[in-house]
């Protein structure tokens, strides 16, 4: 464990990739995310933890433009991001979903090829005319998709339908699809949910591999061992607010974090479980 820990932590001090300041999301009377700041630098793995209903996924949705934050700003590589998913992906931020959202009736390869959509340009007319330029682009898309499938270890499943793949493979396929958009930063929403220990280990290897290829990673996770192994920095959200941000050791030993998860014993009256529309 300690070996991995040390290997996991090279000096991460590149340029700032993502800078979210004062992100606030309000659903009617409910403050789902309140004034959260997050900075991600190049080649860094940042963890996002917090009990159920803390607003982690809502925060992700604000970052990726699925929600328009009530207030706050998201800057990517220095330029402000409009809250539109397409612009966000184009800028270089891709994500996966907490409940796997693959294109179930497409093959694994096709799923990844959809991810190339925003980096390719063939229009309807070009496609119908089927000229050499179109064929070259199509060929390149296919080759890149296959390469990514191999990167996540699904090279042999290219022709399988996404819906028929084992659960762990579906998670990895979602990551491959996100990588196909050529991101600089990838947001992973509970990438090991429902996995067994062996699959979890493979997942963290994969995340290191992604980081080593020059990307930054933000990961939401409930598995503490996983997250403290993996991350350079951890941000803990509780009831929509940033409780603490720091190295895994700092966060791990903070009594408030333990309290947020386990409760103090006096008032274990339930952590809010459902944020309306909060989980995607």
């Amino acid at each position: 464990m300690t070996v991995v820990e040390d290997a996991a932590r090279p000096q991460a001090a590149g340029e700032t990739v993502l800078e979210a300041t004062g992100v606030t999301m309000r659903f009617g009377g409910l403050l789902a995310v309140n004034d959260v700041n997050l900075t991600v630098r190049e080649g860094e793995i940042v963890g996002l933890i917090g009990p159920n209903g803390a607003g982690k996924t809502t925060f992700f949705n604000c970052l990726t433009g699925l929600y328009k934050p009530t207030s706050g700003q998201v800057r990517f590589s220095g330029t402000p991001l409009p809250p539109k998913p397409r612009a966000v992906v184009r800028a270089g931020m891709a994500r996966t979903f907490q409940n796997i959202r693959l294109f179930a009736n497409m093959t694994a390869l096709e799923n990844v090829m959809v991810g190339r959509y925003c980096r390719t340009s063939a229009g309807a007319l070009t496609s119908v005319l089927h000229g050499p330029k179109f064929r070259r682009e199509e060929e390149a898309t296919r080759a890149r998709a296959q390469e990514l499938l191999e990167f996540v270890g699904l090279g042999r499943s290219a022709e399988h339908l996404a819906r028929n793949m084992p659960y762990g493979d579906q998670r990895r396929l979602e990551i491959a699809r996100a990588l196909a958009t050529d991101p600089k930063l990838i947001l992973l929403d509970e990438p090991t949910a429902g996995m067994n220990p062996q699959e979890t280990r493979q997942a963290s290897d994969l995340i290191f591999k992604i980081r080593d290829s020059g990307l930054s990673v933000v990961v939401i996770e409930h598995d503490m061992r996983f997250i403290f192994n993996l991350c350079d920095r951890v941000l803990c959200l509780v009831r929509g607010e940033a409780l603490i941000e720091g190295t895994p050791e700092e966060v791990q030993s903070d009594p408030r974090v333990i309290e947020a998860y386990i409760g103090t014993g006096e008032d274990d009256d339930e952590v809010e479980d459902d944020v309306p529309g909060g989980e995607v």
Partner: protein
Amino acid sequence: MTDIETPVDDISQAPVAKPGKPIAWPLGLAGVVLVIVGSFLSWSYDASILNDLSINFYPGGLQILAIIVALLSLVLLLAEKGPLVKLGSWLDVTLALRALGDGLTLYMVLVVVAISVESDGLINVNPGGYVTLVGAALIAVSAYLLPLRHLRDMSEARMPAWFEILSIAVLMAALLFVAAYALGLPDAWSFILCLVFVFTAAIGLFRSGAMTFVSHAGQRHRKVLTLAAFAAAFLFPFTQNGSDANMSIAGSVLVFSATAMGLNIVVGLAGLLDLGYIAFLGSGAYVAATLSNSAFATIGWKPPFLVVVLVGACVAAVLGLIIGSPTLRVSGDYLAIVTLGFGEIFRFSMFNLDGNNGPNLTNGPNGIPGIPDLELFGFNFGSEHTLAGIELGRFSNYYFLLLILVGGVILAFSRLNNSRIGRGWVAIREDEKAAEAMGVNVFGLKLLAFSIGAFLAGLAGTIKAHQDGAVSPDQYIFLESAFLLAAIVLGGMGTIAGVLLGATILKMLPEKLRFFSEYRLLLFGLLLVLMMRFRPEGLVASRRRQLEFHEEDEALAVAVEEEHLVIEEAK
């Protein structure tokens, strides 16, 4: 004993190994002989019904169909035990023979019913008919006594390329022959019997696995398959001897197919339910009619037809954009309602733009009749032409033009389907939110699907106007949109062959079976309900859809495949 070839353990076939098994094969053979002998005898006393089945030793068309089924059964029996036994390890003899036996029995029962209904009583059925019926029943019985077997995987079957190409060509030729024969039948009973024959033969071929072989061969020789299909379609008018009645049906089938193909992009690929699609066909037709220099046209300008085609298609596409841009933000049922409304708006607009309530553009309910025939590059579509000694009438000319259109539409569909755009559409259909998060331009692509679909329908409409010679608002009622959708659902969403098949069935049946035109809707409703129950993916399922609806089978297939992989790895 019959299955020495196949390595199957005894337990798996124990339940079917009944004592009657040894007689199954001779029984089947006797059935085949009886059917063939019976078919050479007279079936009916009355010569005037069912195209004359009353002459001994001179089989009529329906009798020849029975002989064909008998010969197919003979081949299967010989594959079970006899000189063709090698074939038997690939073909599922038992299941195919059951289908053929059942189908032929049904066929003969219908023949007997038809004869007694058409000419007063069973007395008019001659012995030949009964002999054939008994023979058919024997085939069916023998098939149920044969054992079920495990077979080799048909997808591994490899034959020399010439044989595979030949099998594709034979299939296409058979299709052409049957289509020409069925359309040439004058009475409804013969037509129904012919349909029973087609379904019997088709199910037999599918059950035996022969169709699997042909479809695999078709995938290996895609170009040959496409060419053969078009050659068969091209040759069709030459089988009609200048008869315009059938060619007009064939022409309307092609218009319907092209339109359904356009709708297939919207519904089958992008997953947008459009219930007013016929309006786009209508707008193309109205543009062509208005610019045709007909005496009733309200604009006295006639540009060359190629310009008219473009204008018509573009008008339809622009209408698609206009209706799409505000409405594509809603989805599912809401979109269906809005498009339904749009279809009605179009019809009422055409109805009311008659000079009383606004400008006179469409002559209101009277429509625009007297649209002159097309003239392209000096070729007049109204006159008859003789090619290779065969007369080709007016409708044949349009048929050829429409064939080119359908070919173009199919090409556009398949190329779009296999492109970045097509993948985007399917992704939207599968999960709109995920598609959006992957950077797919959801709204733009939906709009594109809408306008491309409309463009293709408008294209078909411009030719339809000239072929029909008239346009009027009542051609573009909601029912037509519903039929287009039914053709897609029946045939198989998102497929090419399926939609063509569905369009053909839905357009041809009512034309040939006019006697139950009142029950037409009832019948189609029933057909759709049955389809949804037994084959929700449509007659021809796209790979994706099929898996979607038969998940357990696929899970099984995957499990088996994985087992194979494990075994391979172990080696």
